[in-house]
Symmetry: C2
């Protein structure tokens, strides 16, 4: 358990990445109670300086012995680095909130979305996992419906932004677009195929069952966060040429029938959700509008008459914020709330 | 019924549009047995000349009395023009193959995908409807599965290219992209919101039930083409910043269980379908690769274990070709095959 203090020595591990940068911005915006902020990255970024409040903070090289005296470390430096370093942090009394997939399915590690299962934080033993971006926004929108009508099955297709892959992928989309507009050759370094003006039905690697890891995360993480292994999920995850903001087309089968209006009413009162649903006025969530925002936006709410109790909806959120950095900071805030 | 001839006087109505242009190319590529080709458009395009084989053909203004002596007319000039002019063409003995939505759900008018329901052509009385682009590619891929295992329910999410809206929408995506790259203001004329680097969950207008017309077409047209009103379909149709090639994420519930390998085998022998499905080698259909091609490409075929007998697949095709112009020309070819 985190000890109650006025201010916390806080670290961002992977500070020079797309999510790391967003973590620093969000700590600043939300006036997080920081005693001292320390920034870590790989040797490549050593000596680099990043702005925080009115300071410039030097990026330090991550080592096993750096965590003494750090209260909270937000990790976003990939699964391998997290496996290698998070246990050392935890051993030195630092609470790690890890954005990678390294610990998410470990039964001993809480996997937390503060609006959904904040209580799971109380069981942590030094490491807390931040879920996958596409899962977070989906469960924020679906948990209030599950509580009212019990979700039996979810069929989800995603439209995921390149920033989910990282800063290099954002550059790749930009460079490919520029090349195409100037009739030059397109280079693919980050993705196996051109992403500009294209859709790639692959996110992460393929497993033996034909699904990608990303698709299986949407099943496994949803069950763990919702605390209900009876929920069925089948997912197809697709990368689209959008810089920021994941969209999800979600079809659910529920046990108790709900009308579209009832769902709008339930979600209007749900934490972290904004219902943005007046299609006749051209109002529905767009990734472009949600970029830089904190909420999970839900629109296109419709009854699905192909089954007795079904619903369709369109769920959009900023993958770098609620899908990653913001959720991690919110976990830290909740830990502070629970601190004794 | 079309009378058997060696060559047919053929017309393209809406010759200067995106689909019209594609119709002219396809008639040429496939060496369609044309006696004389006549091209029609609105007064705006009068006097314009278009190339066909080694000729230049003058675009004529569409009038009610132009159809005498024309055997086959491919219409792609919008629903209103089709309602206004197709009956005059039919009265004068011309067979109309209409790409608009004007006649599709008329019980007296066949709605045809040659790979799926060619027999329905025999019932025509002068007008034949070409289905909606997103429906055509889906039924080409699903009909062989339906014949083997009976499809009970389809949940489909689309990723549709801007060329589905027409040539102006392709210009809009290009212009918006250029503006963004040069930090200039983005203008939206065709779509209600920016399409560049964005996803718009709206195609066509909204109906009272919260679905768009495009979404309801995927239910109604699928049932009519498959000749089975028991099939349930729920659709969400989304515009993505892709120039050409519609992608569809399709989940189906079937009566008889099929493995992914069985589905690959069935589809490998299906007319008009190419199975492109070796994800471990990075092989799956991409809209960019399918642009300019004739087939419906199917990949990401997986068993859906969230229900007893379910499947997921990713279906991609060129919306201007199989989704519109090619299907219309194939209908004409089938009519010629049936001609007596």
């Amino acid at each position: 358990m985190l000890k109650k203090k006025d201010k916390y020595v806080t670290a961002v591990v992977g500070a020079t990445g797309a999510v790391g940068g967003e973590m620093i911005s969000i700590l600043q915006e939300r006036n997080f109670p920081i005693d001292k902020l320390r920034l870590f990255a790989s040797e490549r970024s050593e000596g680099k300086k990043l702005e925080f409040r009115d300071d410039e903070i030097k990026v330090e090289v991550l080592r096993e012995d750096v965590f003494k005296g750090i209260d909270i470390a937000l990790f976003s430096a990939g699964a391998q680095r997290s496996k290698d370093f998070a246990p050392f942090a935890a051993k030195d009394g630092c609470v790690v909130i890890d954005n990678s997939s390294a610990w998410r399915m470990d039964p001993a590690i809480p996997l937390v979305v503060p609006e959904v299962n904040p209580g799971d934080l109380k069981k942590h033993t030094g490491i807390i996992a931040n879920p996958n971006c596409s899962t977070i926004q989906m469960v924020v929108a679906l948990k209030p419906i599950h509580d009212r009508a019990k979700i039996k099955r979810i069929v989800v297709s995603t439209y995921q932004a390149v920033s989910g892959t990282g800063a290099k992928a954002m550059d790749e989309l930009l460079e490919q677009t520029k090349s195409l507009l100037s009739f030059q050759e397109v280079k693919c370094n980050v993705y196996p195929h051109q992403i500009a003006f294209n859709c790639l039905p692959q996110i992460d690697v393929f497993l033996d069952n034909g699904y990608t890891k990303e698709e299986m995360k949407m099943l496994n993480e949803t069950r763990k966060i919702m605390g209900d292994n009876s929920i069925q999920v089948t997912a197809t995850t697709v990368r689209v040429p959008v810089f920021r903001g994941h969209s999800e087309c979600v079809n659910i089968e529920i046990e108790k029938k709900l009308t579209a209006n009832e769902v709008r009413a339930i979600l209007s009162e749900a934490p972290g959700v904004i219902v943005f649903d007046a299609p006749e006025k051209g109002i529905y969530p767009l990734p472009l509008d949600c970029a830089g925002k904190d909420a999970v936006y839900v629109g296109r709410i419709r009854e699905d008459e192909s089954i007795p109790s079904g619903l369709n909806m369109w769920i959009v959120s900023d993958n770098l914020r609620k899908g990653a950095a913001l959720n991690a900071v919110q976990i830290a805030e909740k830990l502070i709330e629970f601190a004794q």
